[in-house]
């Protein structure tokens, strides 16, 4: 007599493709939410991943939250539909904190604590096809750790390997003060991505990369001509983009209209967003979509 055991098929993670139980909430391997794969299967469309990358404290969470909120509010002729409540958490978190004149909490390094957004997006008037876009809010520290020790944070490598467009945030305010930190981090990050995509030396990476000079409200000159600002203040970044990336554009952006400062003590001064005044948030995203 034989026994037939009926096994429920495993579901592959959308990001790292590791098999998971069908009722799993997050991937056991990379901690990405399994809802992504379930939602993408339901849409019967291949989802496209756009990554928001940058150093810690550069403003990735605020930028992404603002972007999603603006898309949801049909800014720039976009129509955006979040797939599931988990896609709304980030923008709600950012908008809620800014309304309370606070920056949102730091994103933890642990990937299972990240916000992920899955949106269906289309131009309302142009009648273009719908895009399924997945945008995670990665921690800058995790990016830095993966760059320093490749494959230590598998989810980042998987994400970047699968992403079809990247928005690289660089702290323009710090760069304008003469600090080389933002330039070096961006250089390392693009060098890492060059390695991930591993094209031949005589070929350049074709994935579109939008370099966003954020916090440009602190250095308005970045708005005047982002390319000149980057070439002048972020020369290393400029050069690697020129050498290794075929599809790069530079933008300037800011999220807050004005900042106040609170001094808890002379060593502990923190900035407070007095009001939100998004500028240049949607343009990089729009450019990326046009390149896809």
């Amino acid at each position: 007599m034989s026994t037939v055991t009926e096994e429920t098929p495993a579901v592959g993670c959308l990001i790292c493709e590791a098999p998971n139980p069908p009722d799993a909430a997050i991937c056991a391997n990379c901690s990405a939410p399994m809802a992504l794969i379930h939602d993408s299967v339901a849409q019967a469309r291949e989802p496209r991943i756009i990554s928001i990358i940058g150093d810690s404290n550069v403003g990735k969470t605020v930028y992404l939250g603002m972007l999603l909120d603006m898309l949801a509010r049909r800014v720039g002729d976009f129509e955006a539909i979040p797939k599931g409540a988990y896609s709304v958490h980030l923008q709600q978190n950012v908008v809620g904190h800014l309304a309370a004149r606070m920056f949102p909490p730091k994103t933890p390094m642990e990937a299972d604590q990240w916000y992920w957004a899955y949106y269906q997006i289309a131009y309302r008037s142009k009648g273009k096809a719908w895009f399924d876009l997945i945008m995670p809010d990665m921690a800058g520290e995790a990016l830095a750790a993966e760059i320093d020790a490749p494959r230590s944070h598998g989810v980042i490598r998987s994400l970047l390997h699968k992403c079809e467009g990247a928005i690289l945030l660089v702290d323009a305010a710090v760069a304008a003060q003469g600090s080389a930190g933002p330039d070096f981090f961006a250089l390392k990050l693009l060098s890492y991505m060059d390695n991930v995509f591993a094209v031949k030396r005589d070929e350049r990476v074709k994935m579109p990369v939008a370099v966003v000079l954020c916090k440009a409200d602190c250095c308005p000159v970045a708005f005047d001509d982002p390319r000149i600002f980057a070439e002048t203040n972020l020369n290393r970044l400029w050069n690697i983009c020129d050498s290794r990336f075929a599809n790069v554009e530079f933008f300037a952006a800011s999220s807050v209209g004005s900042l106040g400062y609170v001094a808890h003590n002379p060593q502990h001064i923190v900035s407070v967003p007095l009001h939100a005044a998004p500028r240049g948030i949607v343009e990089p995203f729009e450019w990326i979509l046009e390149q896809l």
Binding site: N20, P21, P22, D23, A24, A25, I26, A28, S31, M34, D55, S56, N57, M102, F103, P104, P105, K106, T107, P108, M109, E110, A111, D112, Q113, A139, G140, E141, A144, A145, D148, A149, S152, H153, G181, F185, V262, H264, Q267, H268, V270, S271, V272
Partner: protein, 538 residues
């Protein structure tokens, strides 16, 4: 209180072991303002000693808590993680809050000091990560240093190797012993689990950890007081907050869940998965732990939040339950600390059987004690620890048998003695081991069964001469004396039987005293028998 030093060292036989300081490499993982430390922002290793290698930095970075990583969000929060590093060393990371987050984005800065030691040095702390934290506290390095030099000096810590039995006793006294056994069972299987507690869970972790063989401890990762993250790779995750989100995260994954809070919330309990991802809602193994008291509000029914690893009570679990119920916390810690090489299920079964059989002597009667001794006489053990434990068992058995022989009822002497003699004849080593008990037997039997006593003595002589000449000499001499003292009351037939038995002695005392005593005994028997023949009617 928890971080106070233990009162005594575990190995008093090695008093110098604890004196020499232990060289520890260290790293600090936190987020510092760029004004304090340039070259990067956010959570990272901001300072480290020279001996922290690149692969160790990677491991520490991957497992350390970042913003919001502590369950306790108050300024007084503390947490601990410990894990083996890929290079074979062991890392203990102690986390605290270090003031408000410097970017003003809310919450506390999490500050983690990671200490890296070799496996050999980890043993000098009793293979107990809490002892490393205690040593750190004693050396004054537990508090955050918010302006560390980029290159730290290695730490020289004075090892703490004892056991805070009061801490362990308090955990065991909380009424969750059965659930703790389930935790131990899961860790023995090297499977991950979540334990929901009311505090950081450091005391619970120490209690459970001390019940694991040291070899297993060295490859078991703990995370106490840290929000659950699969990136930490911890086997034992003690959490005290973020429970609902953690349950949701674990949905569908085979990770056991134990809720030990005094007042569990009313949230729906998660599906508990067992081995191979199948349902394993098995009640806690109360059968091995004796009577149990559940925390208030838990009810008397088996708790479905408790997942037992093994449906069949494991021998090691019986041992742990036995030691816990006897309050033998230091003894258990001492035993587990010694098991630093082999922690396989087979080794654990052998060890637990030896120890539990040793404990059986405390209530065993003579026949049961003899049976236990017989089972172990030919066993040498697979390693030094097993060898020593078997020796300890045999000595305990010998002592128990001696006591039994001294107090046995007269009508049972013959039966007990026959059994003892049978075992003692198994080998010269058995004879040597059981000689004290045999002496007690012969001493008691001499007055009751002289001939039999003499025969038993003959058997002993035959068996034991090669290895126990000195002891035997003493025994023979003593027997001759005892028989001489008791022969006055013997009948003629008894005397004849005694003389016949004495002629079977193939080994005779060598010492002048022994020979003289034997000669005197033989002479006295002859004289008494002659007297009997003269008194007999013609």
């Amino acid at each position: 209180m928890l971080l106070q030093d233990p009162p005594q060292a575990l190995c008093p036989s090695e008093p110098n072991r604890a004196c020499a300081r232990v060289h520890c490499e260290q790293a600090i993982f936190t987020s510092l303002p760029s004004s304090v430390r340039g070259g990067g922002t956010g959570y990272r290793i901001v300072a480290a000693s020279r001996g922290i290698r690149a692969d160790q930095r990677r491991d520490i970075t991957a497992r350390s808590p970042s913003h919001g990583g502590l369950c306790d969000t108050s300024p007084a929060a503390l947490a601990m993680a410990c894990y083996p590093l890929s290079g074979g060393q062991y890392c203990v990371a102690y986390s605290t809050s270090a003031g408000a987050e410097h970017t003003g984005r809310g919450g506390q800065t999490v500050y983690t000091r990671a200490i890296v030691v070799s496996r050999a040095d980890f043993r000098r702390f009793g293979c107990n990560p809490l002892n490393m934290v205690r040593a750190l506290e004693r050396a004054g390095h537990a508090a955050p240093d918010l302006a560390p030099a980029p290159m730290l000096e290695p730490l020289e810590l004075t090892p703490v190797s004892g056991v805070r039995s009061d801490v362990v006793a308090a955990v065991l006294g909380s009424g969750a012993r059965a659930a703790l056994l389930s935790v131990v069972a899961t860790l023995l299987d090297e499977r991950p689990l979540i334990v929901v507690v009311d505090d950081a869970g450091l005391a619970l972790a120490e209690t459970v950890y001390l019940a694991l063989p040291a070899a297993l401890r060295m490859r078991t990762a703990l995370a106490c007081g840290l929000r659950y993250s699969s990136a930490r790779g911890a086997h034992l995750n003690c959490i005290s907050g973020d429970v609902a989100r953690t349950r949701e995260m674990l949905r569908g994954h085979p990770i056991a869940w134990v809720d030990l809070r005094q007042r569990p919330d009313s949230e729906p309990r998660p599906p508990v998965q067992g081995r191979d991802g199948q349902s394993a809602l098995i009640s806690p193994p109360t059968s091995v732990g004796g009577s149990e008291h559940r925390p208030p509000g838990r009810g008397d029914v088996p708790d479905p939040n408790v997942c037992s690893a093994s449906p069949v009570p494991d021998g090691w679990l019986k041992l742990v339950a036995d030691q816990w119920s006897r309050g033998q916390i230091v003894e258990l810690a001492s035993l587990t600390e010694r098991l630093a090489e082999d922690a396989s299920p087979a080794a654990r079964t052998r060890i637990s059987r030896i120890v539990l059989d040793t404990e059986r002597f405390s209530s065993a009667d003579a026949s049961e004690a003899l049976k236990i001794v017989r089972d172990y006489l030919d066993l040498a053990g697979d390693n030094d620890t097993e060898f020593e434990l078997i020796e300890k068992l045999l000595i305990a058995g010998q002592q128990r048998l001696s006591a039994q022989m001294a107090s046995a009822e007269p009508d049972r002497i013959r039966a007990i003695g026959a059994g003892l003699m049978e075992v003692a004849q198994q080998s010269p080593e058995a004879t040597a081991l059981l000689l004290p008990a045999c002496r007690k037997l012969l001493g008691r039997a001499a007055a009751l069964e002289p001939a039999l006593t003499a025969r038993w003595a003959a058997l002993l002589m035959q068996q034991a001469r090669p290895v126990t000449a000195a002891c035997l000499e003493e025994l023979l001499s003593e027997m001759a004396e005892r028989l001489f003292e008791s022969m006055g009351a013997l009948s003629e037939a008894q005397l004849v039987a005694l003389r016949e038995a004495l002629t079977e002695w193939q080994v005779l005392p060598d010492s002048p005293t022994g020979a003289a005593r034997l000669n005197r005994l033989m002479g006295a028997i002859g004289a008494r028998l002659a007297g009997f023949s003269q008194e007999a009617p013609a």
